[in-house]
Symmetry: C2
Subunit: 194 residues, 2 copies
């Protein structure tokens, strides 16, 4: 077998991840059998598990990629962009998170790992974005950047679970407006007609 | 069998619901077998399913009771009370909701029923509470009472899913402060030191 260049390696890994994401969304976590993963990815099990030692590791890599993408989006385009991305994401894929949640629930080690699933640079850029917004008065500074991140996490999880269960989440406009106001600095609060 | 008074009937029904809630929390939705329901409730299957025609109906009745309690709490004591109740609720029980979510996801009829699971009076009192707060300037009036309710629903679902998966939700103080500010009328917004 010829040696793969670094670029080819990255492309091959991405191909495995993309196919696995489609497979998980289509069949659920449990339903994504090795045979179905082979079919959807278009590689043999040997080739797939050469990249990821187990189905669990494959899923964690997908979650880490999602998480990093969302954090980068937030750091580059701000709050509305991350809310919109989640409002547009495939509900079938979001539902896989809930299914995987049973593992997180009962496996403390996995849960600890999950908490640190985003790469450090994505996490730091997000915190940096919040801190910059705080120092410019666009976000409130009576709570820490980490606390603002925690609160946004609750809202994002709430949207994800509503969509995963097949309910319509509130409109993007409503979510933008109220979420912005929750975390806004005094000067950026929307004018309220009361 | 002697005829039960109305009061006895209500007490008997509550006893079935309380035992079933413990059983679901302990074993999960799937794991709550008829034998385990009998043991935890302390009644025979005949007696239990005299009140509720199926395990699904039993669970829906429990969810409706929870939902009504939370809405009443909100209408009587306000936002902080409903947030606190969810932050204190048994994570094992919250996890059963996620497990049941798989049914909601694939069964549109069940999902439509789920949307209307709270009794009308509980829903109306909650909307009334928001409308009163809006007319007194304690809640914003640039969005409708229903929209404020939807947004609070996202936050409550986000808290529930974090706790159900075994993660620590943000502190009550943080949730109170930021959620209040999201829905507050201009005059009630917290002062922000920026």
């Amino acid at each position: 077998m010829p040696k793969l260049s670094e670029k080819d390696k990255v492309a091959r890994r991405e191909r495995v991840l993309d196919g696995a994401r489609r497979c998980f969304a289509k069949y659920g976590y449990e339903g994504a059998t090795v045979v179905r993963l082979e079919q959807e990815i278009g590689m043999s099990r040997g080739a797939i598990f050469n990249w990821f030692p187990s189905k669990e590791e494959l899923f964690i890599a997908l979650a880490a990629r999602d998480n990093a993408r969302l954090l980068h989006l937030f750091a580059e385009e701000g709050l509305e962009a991350i809310l919109d991305a989640l409002l547009r994401d495939d509900p079938d894929w979001l539902a896989v998170y809930l299914e995987f949640g049973r593992r997180l629930r009962t496996d403390e080690e996995l849960r600890e790992r999950w908490k640190t699933i985003a790469p450090d640079d994505a996490r730091e850029r997000s915190r940096g974005w919040i801190e910059a917004a705080q120092s410019e008065g666009r976000m409130r500074s009576d709570v820490s950047a980490q606390e603002i991140g925690q609160f946004l996490g609750v809202i994002l999880d709430g949207i994800a679970v509503q969509r995963a269960l097949g309910f319509d989440a509130p409109s993007p406009e409503l979510l933008h407006l109220l979420t912005s106001d929750a975390v806004a600095g005094a000067r950026d609060r929307a004018l309220v007609s009361d």
